[in-house]
Amino acid sequence: MGGYGFYVWGSYGVAFLLLGAEVVAVLKRKQAIKRSTTLGETKLETPNSKFETA
């Protein structure tokens, strides 16, 4: 990178590290919710027909 390697790779490194960490954090949050309840995943993924109107 013409001598600018630290700045360029440092920038992309920080960016992708943070974005990756964000994804991992959301996945862990979902896992924690699943562990703290006994959710029936298939039932949750079906729209609730009580809210259907004409």
């Binding site: 990178m1 013409g2 001598g3 600018y4 700045y7 360029v8 440092g10 920038s11 992309y12 920080v14 960016a15 943070l18 974005l19 964000e22 994804v23 959301v26 996945l27 949050r29 979902k30 919710i33 309840t37 006994t38 959710l39 029936g40 039932k43 949750l44 993924e45 079906t46 729209p47 609730n48 009580k50 809210f51 259907e52 109107t53 004409a54």
Partner: protein, 245 residues
């Protein structure tokens, strides 16, 4: 009961939005990966080196999209928060909360990459110029929003308090945008306007592809996060209580 026309308003209910969001996530996640790969390829192998800055300008391809996302997501967050407050719509407020983290991260990336670009370009990691200072304020607004909401126990009160903060802070976004016109300041002026762009087409293409990648990434992560928020906040609701022990 007519089945021929969808009543879209039903998706305002967290119970119905939850499965819809679940179906949408892979539709956004997969293109995100391809767009990042394409953007990085264009930015590093297709776009030429720059006359004055050489290779260091390539930071642009993450810095500019991140800065734009920080600003766009703030506006979106404020709009959702406002709608949640005005219409007492829980899901809109949940969306605002979901967006806040992603917006904060992009703003931080913009500040960090901007600082690392400033050192080779200007010789300094930081100056108190108009755009950089107002972007730092944006960062503080995000942190304030997130902290404020987590400090209030009652979720609806937290939603309303956050909405006030988000809406008051909205004035900062046009300040960031116009700062390079209004003040005699170090940060580069507008390269992209409605009428022209003063950069090589290959550089513009790489930047726009990276921007698209950041947008689809944001939608993916926000949908994932709002599903978590829905589950956390609706624990006591009948539709969840039916499936939990």
């Amino acid at each position: 009961m007519s089945k021929s026309r969808t009543n879209w308003y039903k998706y305002a209910a967290p119970a119905n939005f939850y499965p819809l969001a679940g179906k949408l996530i892979p539709l956004f996640a997969v293109p995100t990966v391809f767009l990042f790969i394409a953007g990085m390829y264009l930015g590093f192998f297709v776009a030429p080196s720059e006359a004055v800055q050489g290779e260091s300008y390539r930071i642009l391809f993450i810095h500019v999209p991140a800065a734009w996302m920080g600003m766009f997501l703030y506006v979106l967050m404020a709009v959702y928060a406002g709608l949640g407050w005005a219409f007492n719509a829980r899901l809109a407020s949940m969306m605002a909360t979901a967006i806040s983290t992603t917006g904060a991260i992009f703003t931080f990336i913009a500040l960090m990459t901007g600082s690392l670009w400033g050192r080779p370009a200007w010789g300094v990691y930081w100056v108190w110029d108009a755009r950089m200072t107002s972007t730092l304020i944006l960062m503080f607004l995000y942190i304030g929003f997130i902290s404020l909401q987590s400090s209030i126990d009652d979720p609806r009160r937290a939603d309303r308090a956050g909405a006030v903060l988000a809406l008051v802070g909205l004035v900062n976004v046009p300040i960031i945008y116009f700062s390079v016109q209004w003040w005699n300041t170090l940060h580069q002026g507008a390269t992209l306007t409605a009428r022209s762009f003063k950069m090589a087409p290959s550089m513009l293409a790489a930047m726009l592809v990276m921007l698209a990648a950041c947008w689809l990434y944001s939608i993916t992560v926000v949908l994932m996060r709002v599903r978590c928020i829905i589950l956390e906040r609706e624990r006591e609701a009948p539709w969840l209580a039916e499936v939990t022990a």
